[in-house]
Symmetry: C2
Subunit: 429 residues, 2 copies
């Protein structure tokens, strides 16, 4: 008899009927002979409603109190799920993140899990109970304060619990059937992937795929824990995230050309682009710019530096960053305008990023060129380019993201009845 960890997002817990349906699915896993531990998100849009209340009370609420507020959302859903399970004749115990032993650092709003001490969970399992844990939250090791893990945190809670409990599998229930080769809302012919490696899923999640939270994939990869992404609204098999691109079997497949080259096309509209215009071409200037941005806690994604014009000895430096950090970044850069002596700043939040991800591209030259050609043939202008070992990304105008995604998806023969792989999902935590 093994342990199964399940995660249900807010869209699967939108109201009393949805909660009852989730309870039935949980008891089925118990009836099948498993010990069951479940991580839940807050109901439907309740987190946004709490954020709205906070905003009405204070424009800049203290992070500690915001965490105190938001964690009530999962407390409500976990208690209701436990009640619905009891109503089906099983016993359940709900635990907050703190009670469940989810220990984090003390970074409110974006805490990292540093340990899981599931003593109360194993005790409850031993007593025959189904265990429901509040996702997205923990308690800080040093200050004993309540913390939250940031958007998508419940995926990470589920994976961390599964790892700590040595579970057989971690099932992530969501409102889509699995991981797709592209967002089906943009590419109706996108196909569901049966499997995808951790590395591919990491690149997809990092580049806009919302079906799984980036940190949960990192956590699962570190613990060799398979994740099964599937729909809470159907009985369909979903997508299994497991295995490394460096596995012997995988390497053998690649050699014999049987492995799929591409996993899928991800896109992300939440980025913005800043260009620092007319930067004097001196040693250390670029370093100074990104030092200032790092001090302001801003995560930079792509960076492009144009060739310096010989006549002026000046250059332009462009980079992308989360749109939410735009104001903070421009004000940090304005603070060093006199020091650096650049000419001006331009800010554009009407950009989007399109990324092709696939472990197979390592051994296939010409992938980048094929991406650029597909995008160009669709009449879309490429503003920036960035690549990794298993990814090619281009930044385009926000209005042209859909066209670029579709063009790349088709060029790599990912449309249904072609090959396989991913991208899109719920927006739950």
């Amino acid at each position: 008899m093994g342990i199964v960890v399940q995660k249900y997002g807010g869209s699967s817990l939108s109201d009393a009927d949805a909660i009852k349906r989730v309870a039935r699915r949980i008891t089925e896993a118990k009836k099948a002979g498993n010990d069951v531990v479940v991580a839940v998100s807050a109901m439907g849009d309740s987190t946004d409603e709490l954020l709205d209340l906070a905003d009405q009370v204070s424009p800049m609420p203290p992070a500690r109190e915001l965490d105190m507020l938001l964690t009530s959302g999962e407390r409500i859903s976990m208690a209701l799920v436990a009640m619905a399970i009891a109503d089906l004749g099983y016993t359940a115990r709900s635990f907050t993140g703190s009670q469940a032993g989810v220990i984090t650092d003390s970074m409110h709003g974006e805490a990292k899990i540093i340990d899981v001490t599931p003593g109360r969970i194993t005790e409850a399992i031993g007593d025959g109970h189904i265990v429901i844990v509040a996702g997205f939250q923990g308690v800080s090791q040093d200050t004993k304060e309540i913390t939250t893990l940031g958007r998508g945190g419940t995926d990470t809670t589920a994976v961390a619990l599964a790892a700590a409990l040595d579970a057989d599998v971690c099932e992530i229930y969501t409102d889509v059937d699995g991981v797709f080769t592209a967002d089906p809302r943009i590419v109706p012919s996108a196909k569901k992937l049966d499997t995808v490696t951790f590395e591919e899923m990491l690149e997809l999640a990092a580049n806009g795929a919302k079906v799984l939270h980036l940190r949960s994939v990192e956590y699962a990869r570190r613990h060799f824990l398979p994740i099964h992404v599937r729909s809470s609204f159907s009985e369909l098999k979903g997508t299994t995230v497991a295995g490394s691109i460096d596995d012997e079997a995988r390497l053998e497949q690649e050699r014999t050309m049987e492995a799929p080259i591409i996993a899928g096309v991800a896109h992300d509209r939440s980025e913005a682009k800043i260009t620092v215009v007319g930067v004097p071409d001196k040693v250390g200037t670029a370093a100074r710019i990104f030092e200032v941005l790092a001090d302001a806690q801003i995560n930079i994604d792509m960076i492009v530096q144009n060739v310096s014009a010989a006549s002026t000895n000046k250059t332009d430096i462009s980079f992308t960053l989360p749109g939410a950090d735009g104001k903070k970044a421009t004000s940090a850069l304005e603070g060093i305008k006199a020091e650096i002596e650049y000419d001006s700043l331009t800010y554009d939040d009407k950009v989007g990023k399109v990324s092709l991800v696939g472990a197979g591209m390592r051994s296939h030259p010409g992938i980048s060129a094929k991406v650029f050609k597909a995008v160009a043939d669709a009449g879309v202008n490429i503003e920036m380019i960035s690549t990794s070992e298993i990814r090619v990304s281009v930044v385009v105008s926000e209005t042209e993201v859909d066209a670029a995604v579709a063009a790349v998806h088709t060029a790599f023969e990912l449309d249904a009845d072609q090959v396989e792989a991913v991208v899109y999902g719920g927006t739950g935590r």
Copy 2:
């Protein structure tokens, strides 16, 4: 510099604007040089909304999970109040009941506070913070489970914190100006009392006055802690609950006839009456009836046993109880019908209780007779009678409660421009 403990009920925290108003009042107390600790209830009707959700999910939710669910209400309001205080330039720290050291027994839904260990509160006060504590909740000593204190529990949280912190005063903010000689909705000429003794307030609360929760008054009396009941919507001085009817000063006042005889008229429509008809007049029969009811955890209020009719050697036994327990009581009694051999049961939930309360009545004979005459003169039939040292109660038909209250209020010259004392209030926790 002393410690002031304040309590704000749900009606004072109905929305973002109400929360901001409460925050201003709290910071005024801080600005005046006090250390401030605040106990808050859940916002407006949010507790009822959570109960409604629970009811949709399960008709009989487990008590442990119901407590887990309901405690999220205070968590939301305490975080929002702390944010609103921060927005005014002060620093605040919110704590759950468990974090605040409110230790209870393990009776979910109706837990009793058995200790308060306010280490985190005193530390936060020492750091200059205003402290906000979630009312109505604690953590059980034995099982470490989250518990709730029952309706009105936040009053008790505030008083318990004030006692543990050795506060100068406990201010209970509500939606009325204080304790009145009767419910002003029934008796518009009712007057606000400036002071009332603990014993009088206990009798008033126990007999239907909702302005203060019974257990909070018991707790304050045991710790000699004065309570100041006042409105969160005005700057008016409210009612101070303090002093014992056995104080030297009070006894001296009574002797010199200066003390008010009567505190006020309370009423309670939540009771029901059960009559066990045709009970054989044998030794131990009445004891057996109330033993069965006690086993079913039912609190009996008044008991009346009619004189046995000589011809039949049978009697009728009537008693009142909380209407909510009616079903449980009748089914318990039906279980011993064969054993006791009574004839039948009658159940009436259309009754109400009217009580006159006053420490002064100890030294004034004839008070009971005057109550009965006033009620009779108003054409109201008295069904049952019960008295204590400082209280006279009568049970009447529910539809005649208002008339009886008004008649007694007038008979004892309590109408405005006459004497003084109480009864009515918010329904917050």
